[in-house]
Amino acid sequence: MSTAEDVVTEAPAIEAVPKRAMTLGTGTSVVVLLLLLAVPLFAKNFIIFQLTQLLYLGLAVLALNILTGGSGQFSLGQSAFYAVGAYVTAVMMEAFNINYVLCLPIAGVLCFGFGFLFGQPALRLSGVYLALATFALATAMPQLLKLNFLEHWTGGVQGLVVTKPDAPFGLPMSQDMWLYYFTLAIVLAIYIFSVNLLRSRSGRAFMAIRDNEIAASAMGVNVALYKTLAFGVSAGITGVAGGLSAIAVQFVAPDSFTITLSIQLFLGMVVGGVGWLPGSIVGAAFIIFVPNIAEGISKGLSGAVFGVLLFFVIYLVPHGARQVAIMGQQLVGRLKKN
């Protein structure tokens, strides 16, 4: 087609979320934390397991949120980093008998390196092109895990079984409950780290790049460095989430880490609100529970019901859970005035 209209002014693809609006207030945070601490005391083991799942998937959504909501880059390759984290943890635990507490940071660091390196060629790409590149990574990963010469460690198509750790120091709690608190502690630590990261110099650099890359580089932000750094941090956190999932599910296999997982994480981010970190847990809840609800409504049409529910959510709150939070805040403000 014509090449006449070269100059295009585009609205930025990702909304500019100011950094104050990225987190919860102190009061709300404490309430949420107390709830998360108290719930397992009153729940059955299966529900505790689901809550653990909620936490580590929330962590993975948070990682994508840092990348997309923070630095404005889009990725469909999160499942690949998740897979690497899960496999590194599983292999170290089973083949080398390393304690699971040590496996997670190693998985995180390895994934950080992997993401940082992947960020290099991805630097020249943006938008749909970046989506395609990360998509390639996600489709390649399950096949790479099945390769013959890795089979000795990865168990090939069969996958690996991971032993569930017991509660240490003779604490009187079930394995599931211990795992829940262990996951909660890690997720909390990473959440605090992420909030601080986005408030730091690096976080401001991410957001400057998200809002306008050219302006950011004119202000002296090293665009290449911070873009790859965002990829690295996001991949590292996703890797830890993958490691936690391997421990909680007690099983890793190549086909649990397909592109579907990346798409779920993406949906989680949209439902939770792009760029709003606490929304990640809401998004995770959506991707865990809504498919179950859909299945409950109609077995044959579960996909269609899921789609309709998703449409409902994005019609009502196009900005995700963040919008609900803002509306709530305004309501509280109005009540205080009266």
């Binding site: 087609m1 014509s2 090449t3 209209e5 070269d6 100059v7 295009v8 002014t9 585009e10 693809a13 990702i14 909304e15 997309t68 889009f74 060629p121 020249r124 790409l125 749909v128 092109y129 989506a131 395609l132 590149a133 998509f135 390639a136 489709t139 390649a140 096949q143 790479l144 099945k146 306008n212 050219i214 302006a215 798409i263 993406f266 949906l267 981010m269 949209v270 439902v271 792009v274 044959g300 049409l301 579960s302 996909g303 269609a304 019901v305 899921f306 789609g307 309709v308 998703l310 449409f311 994005i314 019609y315 196009p318 900005h319 995700g320």
Partner: protein, 292 residues
């Protein structure tokens, strides 16, 4: 050398499938500026409609035309009902909407026509084409239709008033509105055309991959890849991209040892990405200059 030519020919014939799909992808990208993830499912649904019509005794071309009209109207309806309300929502929310649409269409088709594989007839026959074992008359016909479609689109966009209006609405919506173009309906029209082109692609592909609700999964990915490789702004690029992806994929499967069917896709994608690193807007895409 003979192996090489044969593989290239086979690549061209699979490439025709991707080219068709890529053309539909580019069409909608031109109209709405997003990649529509539900495109393949929409095409699959149209193909099922034509199959159902043929089961009811309507001849091939009759079913073909009815399915085309149905997809055109269906595409417009989807835009008006589902996506117009989302026009002001953030881009990523729209993408989530595409995923929802994908789930809805896929699951409904599964319920209506179930997941068993069905034969789909071809109007071109399936004997060897010009004595070559690699390209059947159906595949030759497919390439022919793709080229015809491309020509028709070229004339439509270059020489008709409405084609011009669509181009204007897509590239500078503000100014287009000022000169009296109804940009909102141009988007709907874009959806309708993309949906109809997708339906043609689906009906041409179905005899090769057989008809079932998940038939488009793989094809759509290659179609996206082809569209991106050719440059998302150029229908011609999309068709060239489609043939190139087909050839890439076949050659990688033949010449790189240890590449089974599974690794063909990642390798093809990796090649495309290396092309994109050198030419970030695709082979024939228009460089977008950003204003600060």
């Amino acid at each position: 050398m003979e192996l090489f030519t044969n593989q290239v020919l086979a690549g061209i014939s699979t490439g025709a499938i991707y080219a068709c799909m890529a053309l539909a992808v580019v069409m909608i990208y031109q109209a709405i500026d997003h990649l529509n993830f539900a495109q393949g499912e929409m095409a699959m649904f149209s193909t099922f409609i034509s199959w159902q019509l043929m089961q009811w005794g309507i001849p091939y071309w009759g079913a073909f035309i009815i399915a085309l009209v149905f997809s055109f109207i269906g595409g417009i309806a989807i835009e008006r009902i589902l996506f117009k309300p989302l026009a002001k929502a953030p881009v990523l929310t729209n993408v989530a909407g595409f995923i929802a649409l994908y789930a809805i269409i896929n699951s409904s088709a599964g319920l209506i026509w179930d997941f068993t594989i069905k034969q789909y007839p071809t109007p071109f026959g399936s004997s060897p084409f010009l004595g070559s074992q690699l390209i059947s008359t159906h595949q030759a016909g497919m390439i022919g239709v793709t080229v015809l479609l491309l020509l028709a689109l070229y004339f439509f966009f270059q020489y008709t008033r409405i084609g011009l209006a669509m181009r204007a609405a897509a590239s500078v919506p503000e100014s287009a509105r000022l000169v009296g173009i109804n940009t909102s309906w141009m988007i709907a029209l874009g959806w309708g055309m993309a949906s109809a082109i997708g339906a043609i692609a689906g009906m041409l592909i179905a005899p090769v991959v057989f008809l079932e609700p998940n038939m488009m999964g793989g094809v759509l990915i290659y179609g996206f890849a082809a569209a991106v490789l050719g440059g998302l702004t150029s229908p011609f690029g999309a068709v060239v991209g489609g043939f190139l992806v087909g050839i890439f994929e076949n050659l990688a499967g033949t010449y790189i040892p240890g590449v089974g069917n599974e690794l063909k896709l990642p390798i093809a994608l990796a090649l495309i990405i290396s092309v994109l690193v050198v030419k970030p807007a695709g082979l024939f895409g228009r460089q977008i200059v950003k204003r600060v």
